[in-house]
């Protein structure tokens, strides 16, 4: 156990340091902050709502992540394949599972850091009014979990190809499915199907779980949903990394 944790920690530390040694990290953080500010203040007209809440701010996250998270996740495995380092990584005395979890965690922590840097929003609403900080905390949790769900899908697509563009586009499509699965135009596509199929498709959607957390409700059901998406996607990543090592 201790050994496993140490391996995961060693790989994750390297990954995370790697983000900050290349411009990727800085560009990502700046774009994330600028865009979330833009949508919150300009598009949702934050001040006009006259409410001390971060609802408009969090509303945009699920959409921003749709493009920003695959941009981070696309390189997770494609880059290892392209540079050939996958051959070093997978012949080190660690398991592929440890490498997958470590790389995922590093990217997720990085996304978390970008999220933490939005703290001026919290200060602003507290300065302007009396927001429910519990709801804000749950909102952050929901945002972080959604980023994790998208990231796990990006990890999956990046394991499938050494081409980062293909990896990015496939990840965006998968994440979009997660976002839109419960939306009537999507469920209407399968109206011919039995109820349970429609329910299943709609049940895959991240939206109801995200919304619940935005309302400040932290329910086991929603946490289980996020854990299952991540668990499934990372498991599938493992299967693909294992079967496509040499390709």
């Amino acid at each position: 156990m201790e050994r496993r944790c140490r391996n995961v920690w060693t790989i994750a530390k390297r990954e995370l340091a790697g983000y900050f040694m290349s411009p990727v990290a800085y560009v990502f953080i700046i774009i994330f902050l600028v865009l979330s500010g833009f949508f919150t203040f300009m598009v949702s007209d934050f001040f006009a709502t006259n409410e001390a809440s971060l609802a408009p701010f969090f509303f945009w996250h699920q959409w921003l992540y749709l493009f920003l998270v695959p941009a981070i996740g696309m390189r997770l495995w494609s880059e290892e394949r392209r540079s050939g380092t996958i051959e070093l990584l997978l012949t080190m005395p660690i398991t592929a599972g440890q490498a997958i979890i470590a790389k995922f965690l590093a990217a997720w922590v990085f996304l978390g850091l970008a999220l933490i840097l939005t703290f001026p929003m919290v200060i602003t609403v507290n300065f302007l009014g009396n927001p429910d900080n519990g709801v804000i905390a749950a909102g952050y949790l929901g945002s972080f979990l959604t980023a994790g769900a998208y990231l796990s899908l990006s990890s999956l697509t990046s394991a499938m190809t050494r081409n980062q563009v293909v990896s990015f586009i496939t990840a965006v499509v998968l994440c979009m499915f997660l976002l839109l699965a419960g939306w009537p135009p999507v469920t209407n596509m399968v109206t011919w199907a039995p109820y349970w199929v429609i329910d299943t498709v709609a049940g895959v959607s991240v939206v109801p779980h995200y919304d619940a957390l935005q309302r400040g409700v932290i329910a086991i059901r929603d946490l289980v949903y996020f854990a299952s998406v991540m668990g499934f996607a990372l498991f599938a990543t493992g299967v693909i990394v294992h079967s496509r090592r040499g390709a």
Partner: protein, 330 residues
């Protein structure tokens, strides 16, 4: 130490490695020779556990690399083809990372990193990102990571690729030195390298093992191995030829021509079990008996190039006859 048993690897319809079996013991440096696309890298990837074999097994110190991978990998240092490295990392960052993955920390880690930095002369580039290194330094950085945990087994895919002649020599000296207590496999297509470092050679062609022996044993398989060239004064070419042809152990005598008043002939020995018979004493005796005065006397040891050419070319001819699946992927 390393046991490769009946290794086979298919890539879709391509048979890249076809039933390769060999073992390497401690104290041996095994040279893996073969033309490009022969299957050297694929075999090494199976030995290090990067690629699972389509059939066959690899055991490292008794641990199956597929079923029991972690103990197997702990004992193997691997230099992949093209010496990959994390482009944005510095050389020290990279080496420290590799040390940590192998469970080294604190003073042990500093010692291990310091040792390979000295051995591979990396001090001048310690703080440079890997993607800014020259090819020689990048190669040595990756070589350094392979020997960093001081593993008992090394698998080196073209370890001197991209190095200048001095660096090549240094790396070879290093490998020969380490080969005294480790089991090492290295692939190459440079024949002089085999002589410089290897205690045993395997030639693989079209995925198949075609030769396995010491460099000297291999050399004896060269068509010209064991032949004697001698220059004799004051005798007619025809007479010399008659005398030598009648001797036991002589297969053929070629007259090469006259040079400074001496007739030059080349005498080829009969082969027994593939090995040429020793002609030197026989010829020296007969020349002494007949009072033949000779200038030059030279026994050919056989050249590895000849053997290499011989076995890999023969194999290609067979291949085109039997309509093997062509290797159409680069």
């Amino acid at each position: 130490m390393i046991e490769a048993l009946n290794l086979v690897k298919w890539f879709g319809p391509i048979l890249a490695v076809n039933d390769v079996t060999f073992t390497v013991e401690r104290g041996e440096v095994l040279g893996f020779l073969g033309p490009n696309g022969a299957g050297k890298s694929t075999t090494m990837r199976m030995i290090t556990g990067f690629l699972p074999p389509s059939s066959g097994t690899v055991r490292i110190d008794g641990h199956d690399v597929v079923d029991d991978p972690i103990p197997a990998r702990e004992n193997v240092g691997y230099l992949p083809e093209n010496a990959p490295g994390y482009p944005e990392m510095t050389v020290t960052g990279f080496l420290n990372f590799v040390a940590e993955v192998h469970g080294l920390g604190g003073q042990d880690k500093r010692d291990a990193v310091g040792r390979v930095v000295e051995m591979c002369h990396l001090r001048p580039v310690l703080h440079q990102p890997i993607d800014t290194l020259s090819k020689g330094y990048r190669h040595r950085t990756c070589f350094a990571q392979s020997i960093l945990p001081d593993p008992p087994i090394l698998v080196l895919d073209e370890p001197t690729d991209g190095l200048d002649p001095n660096q090549k020599r240094e790396v070879r000296d290093l490998i020969r030195e380490m080969g005294k207590e480790k089991a090492i496999i290295l692939s190459t297509h440079i024949l002089e390298e085999v002589d410089a470092v290897c205690s045993r050679v395997i030639i693989i062609d079209n995925g198949q093992l075609v030769c396995n022996g010491t460099p000297d044993e291999l050399r004896k398989r060269a068509p010209g191995a064991g032949s004697v060239t001698v220059g004799i004064y004051d005798h007619k070419a025809g007479e010399i030829k008659d005398v030598f042809s009648g001797l036991k152990g002589v297969k053929r005598v070629d007259v090469l021509g006259e040079h400074n008043g001496a007739v030059q002939v080349k005498v080829y020995p009969v082969r027994q079990d593939g090995n040429p018979l020793e002609l030197g004493p026989v010829l020296a005796n007969v020349m002494k008996e007949r009072g033949m005065v000779f200038g030059e006397f030279h026994t050919e040891k056989g050249r590895l190039e000849e053997v290499f050419y011989d076995v890999t070319r023969a194999e290609q001819e067979v291949a085109s006859d039997t309509e093997k699946v062509s290797n159409n992927v680069g």
